[in-house]
């Protein structure tokens, strides 16, 4: 046998083997069930995907494994009790959930909290964002196989949670916001400690920069993957960093008149034109940096004075309707509160959560992507299950 004949035989054998594999590994129409328990889902989201080979042809997220019926429960509680419930919606940035509800109740009652309370609210709000997004920065890296950032993230988030605990008494569920102000003032020495931790968080962002940005594996897994065009993002109601990563220059902290103190700090809204997984990661990283700067500036300019306005002993909200939304770590969070003027709780409390809309795009977004990218795309959309299911 000459060399060329050997090559010819090997080629024919290879063709036969390929044909056999194609025949035996017939994969068209295979249905794969991701979750309900999967590390990428931050809780219990199940995604049913139908595959053609390695490619997703159809995807359907199944929510509801954690549905707690908060909208119904709000109707049978009074206003002061609702904050306890809504703490558990987005559990990583829980103080942020309380604020829009309290603002809605205050608007209906015609009360405004004193400036010091508004400043501390904003500071705690931004610290909730830092605690929340720090974890994302580590977790997203874990989804592409890099484990170090996760440990860094948990390490540095702990400093922030300790401070939130020192100020409010609760690490994850502060329940600190009250109609007309706050429960208590800041503890002694808290301000200096917080400034120190904010520097640590910026250092963490620099470490993440070194580890991931420019890293070939991370870039190849994220660049150009899961691209969401601007108009599709708007149609699905994507908000927060997911929208800003698609080039939508919209941040409620800057664009909505608010009684909170964001307008008194100097900071920037970051956007990215690409709309891919990398853009979503990058925008959130910049947001953490901006949040630490907002916290520092507000603490420097913290006004003195009372932390609670005069409120009636029994909260009674006059009849009316209002919709108050704020820029939460995950996006636009809003409460549509309807009061009938009775002494009890809201007549209707529609809770608009960002993750609900952010995940509703999944059937559209996953069509045509490859299986390994499903996980990075889900991670980059960044949702919290309590925030979808409520």
């Amino acid at each position: 046998m000459s060399v060329s004949e050997q090559q010819k035989a090997a080629y024919v054998a290879g063709q036969a083997a390929d044909a056999r594999v194609r025949f035996e590994l017939e994969t068209e129409g295979m249905t794969l069930n991701i979750g309900p328990q999967h590390p990428a889902t931050h809780g219990t989201l199940r995604v049913i995907v139908r595959l053609d080979g390695e490619q997703v042809v159809w995807a359907d997220p199944v929510a509801g494994y954690m549905h707690r019926g908060y909208e119904k429960l709000c109707e049978v509680r009074d206003y002061a009790q609702v904050t306890t419930l809504v703490n558990r919606i987005d559990w990583l940035g829980s103080f942020c959930n309380e604020v829009p509800f309290i603002l809605a109740a205050e608007e209906l009652m015609g009360i405004e909290a004193p400036p010091r309370a508004q400043y501390i609210r904003t500071v705690l709000f931004e610290m909730g964002r830092v605690a929340n997004l720090t974890l994302f920065l580590g977790d997203m890296a874990a989804q592409v196989g890099a484990l170090t950032p996760v440990f860094y993230a948990f390490r540095d988030r702990e400093y922030v949670l300790n401070l939130i605990e020192a100020a409010t008494g609760g690490r994850f569920h502060p329940n600190f916001d009250r109609i007309g102000g706050l429960k208590e003032d800041l503890p002694k020495g808290w301000i200096d400690e917080t400034k120190l931790v904010m520097r640590k968080i910026r250092h963490f962002c620099d470490e993440i920069d070194d580890l991931l940005i420019g890293n070939r594996i991370f870039e190849e897994r994220c660049r150009g993957i899961g691209v969401i065009p601007r108009d599709v993002a708007l149609e699905y109601g994507l908000s927060g960093a997911n929208a800003r990563a698609s080039g939508i220059d919209w941040d409620l902290r800057r664009d909505e008149p608010s009684v909170l103190a964001w307008k008194d700090a100097d900071w920037k809204v970051w956007t990215h034109p690409d709309g891919d997984s990398f853009a979503r990661y990058w925008v959130r990283q910049q947001e953490v940096r901006e949040s630490t700067r907002i916290v520092e500036q507000l603490l420097d300019g913290l006004p003195s004075g009372p932390i609670r306005a005069k409120t009636p002993a029994r909260i009674r909200v006059p009849a009316g309707e209002t919709y108050v939304h704020t820029e939460n770590p995950l996006g636009e969070m809003g409460y549509y509160v309807v009061s009938d003027g009775s002494p009890g709780g809201p007549f209707r409390c529609k809770i608009r959560t960002p993750s609900f809309s952010n995940v509703s795009i999944v059937p559209w977004l996953l069509r045509g992507v490859y299986v390994p990218d499903v996980i990075t795309i889900l991670a980059s959309l960044y949702f919290i299950l309590g925030d979808i299911d409520r």
Binding site: A63, G64, H67, G69, E71, K72, L73, E75, V76, R77, D78, D231, V232, L234, E235, Y236, G237, S239, A243, I248, D249, W250, D255, E256, P257, P318, A319, G320, E321, T322, Y323, H325, E332, G334, Y336, V338, S339, D340, G341, S342, P343, G344, G345, F347, R348, K350, R352, F356, S357, S360, I361, W364, D389
Partner: protein
């Protein structure tokens, strides 16, 4: 008709067909005027608060209202949801509405049978949605009457037009509304359960769907918990006597 809006507010601000009250900002006023020009009689009422606007449209103009709003720049769909205006048992223990009562015994029969919110309403169920303009920063709440459902003539489900042909994101919101209130959305590609198991019966957010925890222990439950050792006994009023 009983109103949720304080009289002083309602008298001046909810207007039918004429723009008496001033819009909180010129941009919101432009949007509402644009909707009125396009919908004509389809726009039933509008309402301005100090910083927000509401618009109520006729059931036949619901999808058209969304299309026009989108052309006016409100291209971001915040949410679609619904409300049940039936009066619920109060939290104070007094029963405004008794599920065992005979038909016609309910206090809210005849005119004023249902509560109404801002921009008014005539039926038990209403669908409302929120759109936003992310460039000019204008938000608007749209409302539409969806019928009386089981309390209406002939019963049947409350209905509204679906927004899915315009906003793909309305899919999940409308599924949730259907699941929680039983509202049928005409033109929706497939109303199926979102949160609840497929065999679930009833519509949990309707006011006549009992919350079991409240049936077992009426609100507010046990107010004065047992004092800690060494603490004074709570008095009749629930306050601890000052030393």
């Amino acid at each position: 008709m009983s109103r949720l809006v304080p009289e002083s507010d309602a008298g001046g601000a909810t207007v039918t067909d004429s723009g008496e009250a001033a819009a909180p900002s010129a941009r919101i006023g432009e949007v509402v005027d644009g909707l009125r020009a396009a919908l004509g009689d389809g726009l039933i009422a509008h309402h301005y608060s100090a910083r927000d606007a509401w618009v109520r449209v006729a059931p036949g103009s619901w999808r058209e209202a969304a299309r026009v709003s989108r052309e006016l720049g409100l291209s971001y769909l915040s949410f679609v949801s619904a409300i049940d205006w039936k009066q619920a048992p109060g939290l104070g223990g007094e029963k405004l509405w008794d599920p065992d009562a005979e038909e016609g015994d309910a206090p809210g029969d005849g005119p004023g049978r249902w509560l109404t919110g801002v921009a008014g309403g005539e039926t038990r169920f209403q669908v409302f949605a929120r759109l936003h303009d992310v460039v000019r920063h204008v938000g608007l709440t749209l409302k539409v009457d969806a019928g009386d459902g089981p309390d209406g003539p002939g019963g049947g489900a409350p209905r509204a037009e679906s927004w899915v042909p315009l906003f793909r994101g309305a899919d999940w919101h409308e599924r949730e509304c259907w699941e929680m209130y039983g509202i049928e959305f005409d033109g929706h590609p497939g109303l199926r359960h979102l949160y609840l198991p497929g065999e679930f019966e009833g519509f949990p957010l309707r006011k006549d769907f009992p919350l079991l925890a409240r049936e077992v222990k009426p609100w507010p439950g046990l107010v004065n918990v047992e004092g800690l050792p060494g603490e004074d006994e709570p008095t009749e009023s629930g306050d601890v006597e000052p030393e």
